[in-house]
């Protein structure tokens, strides 16, 4: 049953959308369980000339998994771990089918590594995101820091002609294919490099009454950044307010006490050995107190499970914002920025994201990476009219980003949503790479036709 091409009837409408809140259409769907069935199904589709949209966990917010006609190849049942083994330097290699979710990957890694805990640094925040989707978009969570390393060792790629290639790190092609959002073909296997967790991990959340002292804290932290600082995430006042209002109905927020202040917060993680983490924590405490915080405004947890409890607050952002769109008229896609402003400080960017929407009375939650100043503004329009204003604002911001030589999209994927919203303002280099690699590997553009290009 699973390995057949099924007509897309009422039972499968759930597969017509993703977290972008766009809804598409399709004529058929299949749920292959292995590479052989992928090949078999693609062969049948090729004869009919049917375009194919590749789907993983449907957690993307750029509409990359939303089909506009044709067939949906849903990889969620290709979720087996094929192999996991130790490699050099205490790292491990995990070879899996592409539909393995982050949650399943974590479980497999934990079961395998025992006390020598390992993790995959790019792990996207959504636990139901898949490894294939993460490789296709190069999406990153909060742990990956600012480096360029993808932690993807190799993958198997099926192109539109039915050829199967193994791409390995260093062969040039792997680097070209990663992050091209499924255009060149279907990943049927992904090998991830898992690295050892630090011996000691602390999570610290500093709550502020106001924006200015928060910026002061961020400035001083960036000037004197402890080496152990592995995560530094911003959460603005409206995100904290939204979290507060959903506290009673969201399991992941229930485990958190009342916030000591709601003018914004900075979430930090310190990774290292016990002594160095404590020294860094001392430093953080000093900076926070100098920025006007009371002791009670600085929460601190240690150990993996407690850190995860605190991390939930930042991770919940995406879902909290998504819930806002539940209340809106259908068809209004999610508006989220994915831009960088290389010539600005944290304060400049955070202030723009706070002030511009406020001027138009449009709700907006701001959160994201502090260290590379990659903040995310999630706009919360109340109706179609505000939505249109918000789109215009998004485009204006993209113009500013471009003028500073920044990236206007890409780290969450371009998909079909950013392609539409930011037409003419998209990062040319990435588009060019997608075009080139697609031309080379699947020139008929069978896959993900509505996305990116």
């Amino acid at each position: 049953m699973s390995n057949h091409i099924l007509p897309l009837d009422d039972a499968y409408t759930a597969y017509l959308r993703d977290e972008s809140r766009l809804t598409g259409k399709a004529q058929s769907i299949s749920f292959p369980t292995d590479e052989a069935s992928v090949l078999e199904q693609l062969e049948a589709l090729r004869q009919a000339g049917t375009p194919v949209t590749i789907q993983g966990g449907q957690t993307g917010i750029s509409g990359g998994a939303v089909a506009q006609g044709g067939h949906i190849l849903n990889l969620s049942r290709m979720n087996k771990v094929l192999d996991i083994s130790w490699d050099a330097d205490g790292t491990a290699l995990l070879r899996a089918q592409p539909g393995l979710t982050m949650m399943e990957m974590r479980q497999a890694a934990a079961a395998f590594s025992g006390r020598r805990r390992v993790f995959w640094p790019p792990e996207p925040t959504s636990l139901t995101a898949t490894v294939g989707g993460a490789a296709a978009t190069l999406a990153k969570g909060i742990l990956s820091g600012t480096g360029e390393e993808t932690y993807i060792q190799s993958l198997r790629l099926v192109t539109e002609d039915g050829a199967v290639r193994t791409l390995t790190q260093g062969d040039g092609l792997l680097e070209q294919v990663l992050g091209t959002e499924g255009l060149p073909g279907v990943f049927t296997e992904v090998t991830l490099r898992l690295i050892p967790e630090a011996a000691e991990i602390w999570g610290i959340c500093v709550f502020f009454e106001d924006f200015d002292p928060l910026c002061g804290f961020v400035d001083s932290l960036c000037q004197d950044k402890p080496q152990e600082l592995a995560v530094a995430e911003y959460m603005d006042a409206s995100l904290l307010k939204l979290a507060d209002s959903r506290r009673s109905t969201m399991v992941r927020l229930k485990a958190l006490p009342e916030f000591p202040a709601t003018g914004g917060a900075v979430y930090l993680e310190l990774h290292g050995d016990e002594a160095s983490v404590m020294a860094a924590a001392d430093k953080v405490l000093e900076l926070a107190i100098l920025s006007g915080c009371e002791d009670s405004q600085i929460w601190a947890v240690s150990g993996a499970s407690e850190v995860e409890r605190l991390r939930e607050l930042r991770i919940a952002a995406q879902e909290l914002v998504g819930m806002h769109y539940d209340g809106l008229e259908a068809g209004l896609p999610r508006l989220v920025t994915d831009m960088t402003f290389p010539q600005e400080s944290f304060r400049d960017t955070a202030a723009r994201y706070r002030d511009d929407p406020a001027e138009l009375d449009i709700g907006c939650c701001v959160y994201g990476h502090i260290l590379n100043n990659h903040l995310t503004a999630s706009l919360l329009p109340q109706d179609a009219a505000q939505h249109a204003w918000a789109v215009a604002m998004l485009r204006r911001w993209a113009g500013i980003s471009l003028s500073q030589g920044g990236q206007t999209a890409g780290s969450y994927g371009i998909g079909s949503l950013q392609r539409q919203l930011l037409e003419g303002l998209l990062p040319q280099e990435k588009l060019e790479r997608c075009r080139r690699v697609t031309q080379e590997l699947s020139p008929n553009r069978t896959f993900n036709r509505s996305a990116v290009l």
Binding site: A288, W299, A300, L310
Partner: protein
Amino acid sequence: MDILVCVKQVPSVSEGRLDRKTGTLLRADLPAVLNPYDGRALEMALRLRDQVGGTVRVLTMGPPSAVAVLREAVAMGADSAVLVSDAGFAGADAMATAYTLSQAIRTLPQPQLIVCGRQSTDGDTGQVSGALAAFLNLPFASGVDTVTPAEGDELLLEQRMGRIRVTARYPLPCVISAENETVVPRIPSLRLRLSAAKAQVTQRKLEDFQDTDPSRYGTAGSATRVVRTYRPPETVGKAILSESEVTGQALLDLILGKEALPNV
């Protein structure tokens, strides 16, 4: 009020992952945490102390590494900590554990109130607190979700006892088992967490006790013994019924449990 809270270090995953082949628990791999029920019991004690003054002392029985949960408790605001640890205590069942705790508590200044969590997520018996009260010859209140200081040496307790709620005055000292599932334990402040790392922890061993008979403790002192563990009958992969196979009434009986589950 001087309050003592008994806490336990448990594996962080309550389900416990099993070795698929052998059916044994991979407990050693799991990071150890403060038993969540004890976290809420501690929160209850801390709030009571913050309200009426006094001290909160935490006590745990476990291997030397259990000092981590004591530090966690001190970071949350406990004033002092006691580690009850001895190779001879290992393998204790609920009764032997309660007896060990009672002996350890007798070596300390007598607390006015002893607070325990409802149960641990790993042992799951919920029997230690009641037995502890019996060994200490103190009144015992289970299912406590609200504690209010009352006049004299008394406490006003609200208890959930199944389908009823009881409000009762208990004399001090007494032992209570907290059942305050909706309370969210506080997250430590960074300053307290940093100082907790250096906090002094009082140690208690068998030789410190009044009763130093080793046959009363650990495996030797445990009357119950697990003779076998096995996996429960597999619950997944039941044959799928089609809607034509079940009538509304039959389905209703299945839902309400009036009919046994189909055996496949």
